[in-house]
């Protein structure tokens, strides 16, 4: 349904509208799902995928056929786990064993769960979870092991955090806690996906040796979302911002969203942005290890969206009032740039990094640190795609260039093109000049009175005399003067 406000917005932002149209017209999926060959239970799984994930569903469905179903199911399993964790109406006694045992339920025939609150938006997924378990049992054992392992670790991590949350309001106290929480809910996903990519032969196995890079992929996304969702989370009594950070700016966590604390809250969110930004260069490094285009797109799009979101929330007071989002036009433009190659993704990162730098202000206590973090991302991009090459600097300008070499030929061609342009301009203006002279000369020969015309023009009379008599009298005036 198109909203009136959207129509207005895109009427003013025609560039963004163009991006949306271009994306929808020209984007070709690397791989496409074949719905006609799918079992009914799998079709139901994909329906759930569409319902539960706004951003991931499309990229998952374009994945390489080898990974399409495993990753779609991986997503649904983690979504189910997450729904149980989020539901505050389930008692801890019931919740803890559910979370810790969830990895076993994934393979259990006919398993489903009806205990979620009716208001929980993804409740239905758990109610009909038997479709997921049925499909999951058809997945290759190697992939299944990886997914189960991650589900086990994440379930245990979530159970630990829920246990702490019950006994202490601030289960995320230190930055270390914050990192650990993000590791459980997102860093682990990075780890699991990497293992799936490498197992299927679609990514460089070296990535397995760099757990920090894998985790950064998840942490960068998760931390950025945690900053963006501050208003919604505070309203629903969830708190993920570490006390170690917010306590520097406000006394009570709830004070962050109060209008009278806006400046302090902005400075606090800057420190959160700084914390998230520290993962950005590692994400780019990770993306360099992905070979297959659909896997690259799948991994790169969310990262580009994250840096764009980070720019959007940086020093933006609106995050404390409502849920801010990047516009659809911008999202389409980012998707177009993130589905080609790493160099373009680096350009996206550089662009948003500079925008963050532009919004940075010396008033902010984190001013210099944010500037350094931006500089670090720019320097990292320079290390993978250098814009200067010492070899070209070393070449002496005086050294004669061999005219037969490629470079010599290029230079000669460029020089020729330049002189061609000059000659062309001379020819054009020369022709115009000669034609003008010719026309004036002919007019003169036929008795045109340029002297009269010029004097009349300088007196401001631009229009031609109304009849021949008037013209004659003017000429007469000039020829004889006032005797």
């Amino acid at each position: 349904m198109v909203k009136a406000t959207d129509v207005l917005y895109y009427a003013v932002h025609a560039g963004e509208l163009r991006d949306i149209i271009q994306w929808q017209t020209w984007h070709q999926p690397v791989h496409e799902r074949k719905p006609e060959q799918e079992a009914p239970s799998l079709a139901i799984c994909f329906e759930f995928l569409d319902q539960t994930s706004r951003s991931f569903s499309a990229v998952i469905q374009e994945l390489h056929p080898e990974l399409l179903v495993p990753i779609a199911l991986f997503y649904l399993i983690l979504r189910g786990l997450d729904t149980i964790e989020d539901d505050m109406t389930i008692s801890l006694d019931e919740k803890t064993p559910l979370l810790r045992e969830f990895h076993n339920y994934t393979e259990k025939e006919g398993w489903n769960y009806h205990g979620c609150d009716r208001k929980e938006k993804d409740r239905e997924l758990l109610v009909q979870f038997q479709n997921v378990t049925e499909e999951f049992r058809k997945v290759k054992p190697a992939y299944r092991e990886i997914i189960k392992d991650i589900t086990l670790k994440m379930g245990n991590g979530m159970a630990d955090f829920c246990h702490n949350a019950e006994h202490d309001d601030n289960c995320v106290n230190t930055i270390k806690d914050y990192d650990l929480y993000c590791y459980y809910v997102a860093g682990l996903v990075g780890n699991g996906l990497t293992r799936l990519f490498v197992e299927s032969g679609l990514a460089n196995p070296v990535l397995l040796e760099r757990p920090q890079l894998q985790e950064s992929m998840g942490l960068f996304l998760q931390k950025t979302n945690i900053i963006r969702d501050i208003k919604e989370d505070t309203d629903e009594k969830r708190r993920f911002w570490p006390k170690e950070i917010w306590s520097k700016y406000v006394d009570k966590f709830e004070d962050l969203c109060k209008p009278e604390n806006r400046e302090a809250a902005l400075n606090c969110s800057s420190e959160m942005v700084l914390n998230s930004l520290s993962h950005a260069d590692q994400c780019l490094f990770y993306l360099a290890g992905l070979k297959e285009q659909s896997v690259f797109n799948f991994a790169a799009i969310p990262q580009s969206m994250a840096i764009a979101t980070l720019e959007l929330v940086f020093r933006n007071p609106k995050v404390f009032e409502k849920n801010v989002k990047i516009t659809k036009g911008e999202a389409c433009r980012i998707m177009m740039q993130s589905t080609q190659n790493l160099k373009l993704v680096c350009e996206v990162f550089r662009g948003f990094t500079r925008k963050i730098h532009k919004k940075n202000t010396p008033r902010d206590p984190n001013f210099l640190k944010i500037s350094i973090a931006c500089g670090k991302i720019e320097q990292f991009i320079e290390t993978i795609y250098p814009s200067q090459d010492p070899k070209s600097i070393m070449q002496e300008p005086a050294a004669p260039i061999d005219p037969t070499s490629k470079e010599g030929k290029d230079k000669a061609a460029a020089a020729e093109a330049k002189s061609d342009l000059v000659f062309m301009l001379i020819a054009i203006f020369g022709t115009l000049f000669s034609i003008s002279c010719l026309m004036l000369g002919i007019a003169y020969a036929f008795g045109a009175r340029f002297d009269v015309a010029f004097s009349e023009l300088t007196q401001g009379k631009l229009s031609k005399p109304t009849d021949a008599g008037a013209a004659q009298s003017i000429i007469h005036k000039y020829d004889h003067g006032e005797l």
């Binding site: 940075n360 010396p362 008033r363 210099l368 500037s371 500089g375 290390t383």
Partner: protein, 380 residues
């Protein structure tokens, strides 16, 4: 400050130019673990004296004077950091010409004398030379993430006499590696040094702040620039000396990719900053409250045009150098940052002082000094 590797330092270190801006910081760091005997050779040793070091007055362009000190001190390590101050850009043409001759005399001639005498005295195992990151930079084009593969520039590409003299001296030092018995040499190329006792960067910025020039900005501020805290540069010198001594203790020559002797290394804070962010941080530390909305950005081309007109007007009016010059516009709009991975990998270097802490302590030092000067003036 504790330095895990300086315990490897032997008994006698001689710092040439140890009363200068960088030299004083090196001497101070050498004295901290106080296991080594620290001596200083300088043209004049009245300023920046530290208790615990011995001071010798000598002109490095005089072989006799240098030999006399070397014979007396018999150092195992020489750290050569002496140089005339790089020229201020408001110097007149005659001053510039004089300075060029001086740079050659001291930086090239003096360095040659020091190498030869150090080689002849026989006890020197390690010779550490302070070069400059500007040796690879022509002074106006962008330099992006440059590392040690970049060539050292000579005239006509190198237009700055100071930088060229440093480049020539560096070549002499590196060529002397393993030429005089087993004396090893190394060169460090710091970029944009600032800190306590700094004569150029910070004083100029603080002056601009006092004059109320914080509301101007030349260029879009997208140019990354390397500034290096003097304490980190001093630390790198000590690491370089230790690395040479470690190499010296080996019975075989190290592999090429592990070699530190005969090598040059860039040294920075490893935190390139947008040019005006550094400037604004210094001003903020000094008490400036200017917000970005109040800043008037002058685009580079326009700045160059203004500067050209003003320079001509000043020239016409009598040859003084104006506050706004083309060189200043170029400087504040150009990109100049380096990659220091080689120093990190082979010397174990990493900045000991983060940028923010370094700026805060430097500005505080200047403010305290000025406050003290103010009190003294009042007393007088």
């Amino acid at each position: 400050m504790t330095n895990p590797r300086s315990s490897n330092l032997p008994s006698s270190v001689l710092v040439i130019g140890g009363c200068g801006f960088l030299g004083r910081h090196i001497v101070s760091q050498l004295l901290e673990p106080s296991t080594s005997k620290v001596s200083v050779l300088d043209l004049r040793t009245t300023n920046n004296r530290l208790p615990g070091a011995s001071y010798y007055d000598a002109d490095i362009t005089s072989p006799e004077a240098v030999r006399a000190v070397f014979e007396e001190v018999r150092p195992q390590i020489i750290i050569h950091t002496a140089s005339p101050t790089a020229m201020q850009d408001n110097a007149s043409a005659a001053q510039k010409k004089g300075a060029k001759a001086l740079y050659y005399k001291v930086n090239v001639g003096g360095t040659r004398t020091l190498i030869v005498q150090a080689g002849l005295v026989g006890c020197v195992k390690a010779f550490v030379f302070t070069s400059s990151a500007s040796a690879v930079h022509d002074g106006h084009s962008d330099l992006i993430n440059a590392d040690e593969r970049w060539p050292v520039l000579r005239a006509p590409k190198q237009k700055d006499a100071y930088s060229e003299s440093k480049g020539v001296a560096e070549e002499l030092v590196l060529a002397a590696n393993r030429k005089y018995g087993d004396m090893l040499t190394i060169a460090l190329r710091p970029a944009g040094i600032f800190g306590e006792g700094d004569m150029q960067l910070i004083p100029n910025l603080l002056l601009a702040y006092e004059k109320g020039q914080t509301r101007f900005q030349l260029g879009e501020n997208e140019n990354l620039f390397d500034f290096t805290y003097v304490g980190n540069v001093a630390y790198a010198h000590i690491l370089a000396a230790v690395a040479l001594m470690d190499t010296h203790a080996l019975t075989t020559q190290p592999l090429d990719h592990e070699k530190v002797d005969g090598q040059a290394f860039f040294v920075t804070n490893a935190q390139p900053l947008y040019f005006w962010d550094f400037t604004r941080m210094v001003w903020k530390a000094a008490g400036d409250k200017t917000t970005p909305e109040q800043v008037w950005t002058i685009e580079k081309g326009l700045g160059l045009l203004f500067a050209t007109i003003i320079e001509w007007l000043f020239w016409f009016a009598g040859g003084r150098t104006p506050n706004l010059t083309r060189q200043k516009v170029q400087f504040s709009c150009m990109t100049r940052f380096y990659c220091v991975d080689k120093a990190k990998k082979l010397l174990g270097y990493g900045p000991k002082w983060e940028m923010e802490e370094a700026i805060l302590r430097t500005v505080k030092w200047f403010q305290e000094r000025d406050a003290k000067d103010g009190v003294e003036k009042k007393v007088q």
